[in-house]
Symmetry: none
Subunit: 158 residues, 2 copies
């Protein structure tokens, strides 16, 4: 990893969840965490049956945006912070690189014995294998439908 600090969660990796609920965090993800001296934070996705994760640093920035006193009593903010921070939890990994996902999260994502990590740039998701296969197919179909309207990036196209 370079000094430029581009940190992206990428790739799709399936790891086993053992009897204790432990899962190896993909080593690439671990490298990001170490480099940023932060921690991984996970919470239930608002829109899909999956676990969502990001760096604590990202959530901290959100908290900073919200903490200034002018908004101290705002109701919308109140509801949002309850939902996000009330659900999120820090997950430190042990010396072998594993985190222990909570019952609540595993249940929400319908994960039992295998967890699929899906990179999303600044965030990542953790899926049940079957659900992810279905979701990926759906997304691909969706994108294909919209294809004519997608602008090529950097002038490349095919």
């Amino acid at each position: 990893m370079t000094a430029g600090k581009t940190f992206l969660f990428m790739d799709t990796i399936a790891n086993k969840v053992d009897a204790k609920g432990r899962v190896s965090l993909p080593s690439d993800y671990r490298a990001i965490v170490k480099e940023l001296s932060t921690d991984i934070v996970c919470y239930r996705s608002l829109s899909s049956p999956c676990i969502e994760g990001c760096t604590e640093e990202l959530l901290d920035r959100l908290a900073s945006d919200m903490e200034n006193s002018l908004d101290f009593f705002s109701q919308t903010q109140d509801e949002l912070t309850n939902l996000i921070f009330g659900d999120a939890r820090r997950f430190a990994f042990d010396s072998t690189g594993r985190i222990m996902l909570s019952e609540k999260l595993l249940k929400h994502a319908e994960i039992t014995d295998t967890a699929v990590f899906v990179g999303k740039g600044r965030k990542f998701q953790i899926w049940n294998p079957e659900n992810w296969a279905r979701e990926e197919a759906r997304i691909r179909a969706e994108v294909f439908k919209k294809r004519p309207s997608l602008k090529p990036v950097g002038g490349q196209n095919d």
Copy 2:
């Protein structure tokens, strides 16, 4: 991450209130208090039947901000802060990590034998279990309705 560490109250944790009125402060919360060398301050929430808590440090900052923003429209905020400071109290935890909530606070939140700690980033709340279950469901529904207009977390896109 920058020099400053990140301190966020997160997760939702249910702890028992014993016969003496003692409750374990979640260990993550305790870690924040120790790290910042501050104290926990609690007061009755102005908007919900729950106890609200934060670091004394945060209230201190709020006080400073209020001093410096005495604009024409600040009267309401002024009154609100009066309410909070009039109600707030410091709660130190003992060697096993427990605090003793006052009758006034417990009554306001309708807490008897179980207290649910809900993280809110820089703040947290303490709820009666049933009330929190109801409130969480309400908020989820509310936020889902507003979802299209919500900015993504931390300004990142996904």
